[in-house]
């Protein structure tokens, strides 16, 4: 890894600064301009994200930038490896899609200032900036700040409508998140006390297996699990994600819960590649497996569409954590262990697209019907065919049927489970797929059934919004065409041994 800032490093700063500038301008200029500012920044931010990905791919190395020209350990580094590049592009695409979708729901007020549009557009940009800071941060304390900014931007999104239930959901979310972040900070202090640096690259060279490192990493991981809503710390997620307005749910379920997962990956694979964690990885995998089973079963029992989707998020988060027992460490470098790594990351990305599309589809259905009770969905398939089709495509990815990103991700996890002789994870993946098939079918069967009385829609849904939802669902499907092998882009910046394992 180079010791100085690389060409293109300024892009990393731009990726964080652009949304932050947007937030400042929105606050100063007010709600009548917030939407316009967000719409101007979206293509710019997407361009920056793509430029970073292209830069990482071309250089086949990590892009980095040292703030103020100070090298770590004194300075703070921003780094983009293949994983960050993939996540940043995902976030940019989703934010653009969600922004286009939300224009009809949070239009700029014509005359007087209204609160909801200002809050939504400002918070959308704030979430984006914080996500980019999480994906690019190279310093554990900086990552703490980024994670907190993300929480502060995400929590108010839950209670945009100001109803008592959503306020309670937001408060519960915030309390879980604060519990998580303070544990993370405690771990970071311990690491600094033991090794004198918080820079990820320097730390990975100094850390070794001893009580201080174990304590710190356990605290940080536990805190991040609370934020990522891994079973049994998922209690806050369903009311928060189901209560938020549809575009906000899409951001929360698609992107925000992926940030703490991303940090767990950073901690386990980048900060401590040398610390043996076999037993702990099995624990994470077991929690993931429990999340898959419990989340899916609870999803099957929900009567409301948005709650069903929210519980499905709990289940799909479980898959992400199967990656830890399966993705072998560099020193054991099994060829397929890197497949589990790619599979886990791909699951994060394809779930982001699929779940955002499903939440927005559910939002459109609720707008049209005035409710989202699954029992009352009959006939909606005829009224909103594009929306229901998009919902089905998203469901394809959750079930893990080809062609979809979810299929490729789960196939890689399965292959890794078999190749690593840990067949029990394969059973969980298959059972989770069946259960997901169950709850997606439950919805589609009702939606496609003919209703006895003619369906009266409360309002017509513009084809444009339905197309946005379909486009995001298609992204999840298109991910199914990535080759069924460890991704080369995601390997950029990984320890060399892991890459050699592919050949």
């Amino acid at each position: 890894m180079p010791n100085s800032a690389t060409a293109g490093g300024f892009l990393l700063v731009l990726a964080i600064v652009l949304p932050v500038v947007g937030v400042l301008f929105s606050v100063v200029l007010g709600g009548r301009h917030a939407e316009r500012i967000a719409l101007i920044l979206m293509p710019a931010g997407l361009a920056v994200a793509v430029a970073i990905a292209v830069g990482v791919w071309r250089a086949h190395n990590v892009l980095q930038y040292f703030v103020g020209g100070w090298d770590p350990p004194l300075g703070v580094a921003f780094r983009a490896d293949g994983l960050s590049a993939a996540m940043i592009v995902t976030a940019a695409l989703l934010i653009c899609g969600i922004g286009l979708f939300a224009r009809a729901q949070f239009p700029s007020p014509k005359q007087a200032e209204t609160r909801a549009p200002l809050a939504f557009w400002t918070l959308l940009l704030a979430v984006w900036g914080a996500l980019n800071a999480v994906f690019l941060g190279g310093d554990l304390f900086n990552l703490y700040v980024a994670l907190e900014l993300l929480t502060f931007a995400a929590v108010p999104l839950v209670c945009l409508d100001g109803r008592a239930e959503t306020l309670a959901a937001a408060l519960r979310y915030l309390l879980f998140a604060l519990f998580g972040s303070i544990l993370y900070l405690l771990g970071a202090v311990l690491l600094y006390g033991a090794y004198g640096t918080l820079d990820i690259v320097l730390l990975s060279g100094r850390i070794h297996a001893e009580p201080a490192a174990w304590t710190a990493i356990s605290l940080m991981t536990a805190g991040l699990l609370a934020k990522a809503a891994l079973y049994p710390l998922h209690l806050w997620l369903p009311p928060a994600h189901a209560g938020a307005p549809a575009p906000a749910s899409a951001i929360l379920s698609g992107l925000v819960v992926k940030a703490p997962f991303f940090l767990v990956v950073r901690l386990w694979f980048d900060v401590m590649p040398r610390v043996p964690v076999h037993a702990a990885a099995q624990v994470l995998g077991a929690l993931g497996a429990a999340a898959i089973i419990f989340g899916s079963v609870l999803a099957l029992r929900q009567g409301r569409l948005k709650l069903l989707i929210a519980y499905s998020t709990v289940a799909q988060i479980g898959y992400l954590f199967l990656m830890f027992p399966l993705a072998g460490r560099p020193e054991t470098g099994h060829p397929w262990s890197t497949a589990a790594w790619t599979g886990g990351v791909l699951q994060a990305i394809s779930h982001a697209f699929a779940k955002a599309a499903m939440f927005m589809a559910a939002g459109l259905i609720a707008e049209a019907l005035g409710h989202d009770r699954i029992a009352g969905l009959a006939g909606i398939g005829r009224a909103l065919p594009i929306t229901v089709f998009a919902f089905g495509l998203g469901g394809l990815s959750l079930m893990g049927l080809p062609p979809s990103g979810g299929f490729v991700a789960k196939a890689m996890l399965l292959t890794a489970a078999v190749a690593e002789n840990q067949w029990w994870w394969a059973l969980v993946v298959l059972a989770g797929g069946l259960l997901a098939g169950g709850y997606v079918f439950l919805v589609l069967a009702r939606a496609l059934a003919d209703s006895n009385e003619p369906l009266t829609l409360l309002k017509t849904i513009s084809p444009g919004r339905q197309t946005v939802v379909l486009a995001l669902a298609l992204c999840a499907v298109l991910l199914g065409f990535v080759p069924l092998r460890p991704s080369e882009l995601l390997q950029i910046g990984r320890p060399d041994i892991a890459v050699v394992g592919l050949r």
């Binding site: 008592a164 519960r172 915030l174 303070i182 006390g193």
Partner: protein, 102 residues
Amino acid sequence: MSAATLYGLCSAVLVGLGLFGLIVHPQPLRKILAFNLIGGGVFLLFGVVARRGAAAGFGGDPVPQALVITGIVVAFSATALAVALLLRLFQETEQATLRLDE
């Protein structure tokens, strides 16, 4: 027992008390206070870490002190957000509890 060890133990006690309060008490306001108690413990630990750097030969490690200021600002904003949400919840429901359905 050196001063650093004493303060380290104090911070451990604070974190422990706060964790207990955060998990056991159902009232949101107590949970917010407990979060601040843990925060106090963690910030004290920053001070201990800075002091131990000093023991290594230089007069006080400034980095943890810079970190702790940022940490306090973040914890303050978190508390402000939580209290604002709680107040709003109280205005809507006349009760400061998370169990609305009962």
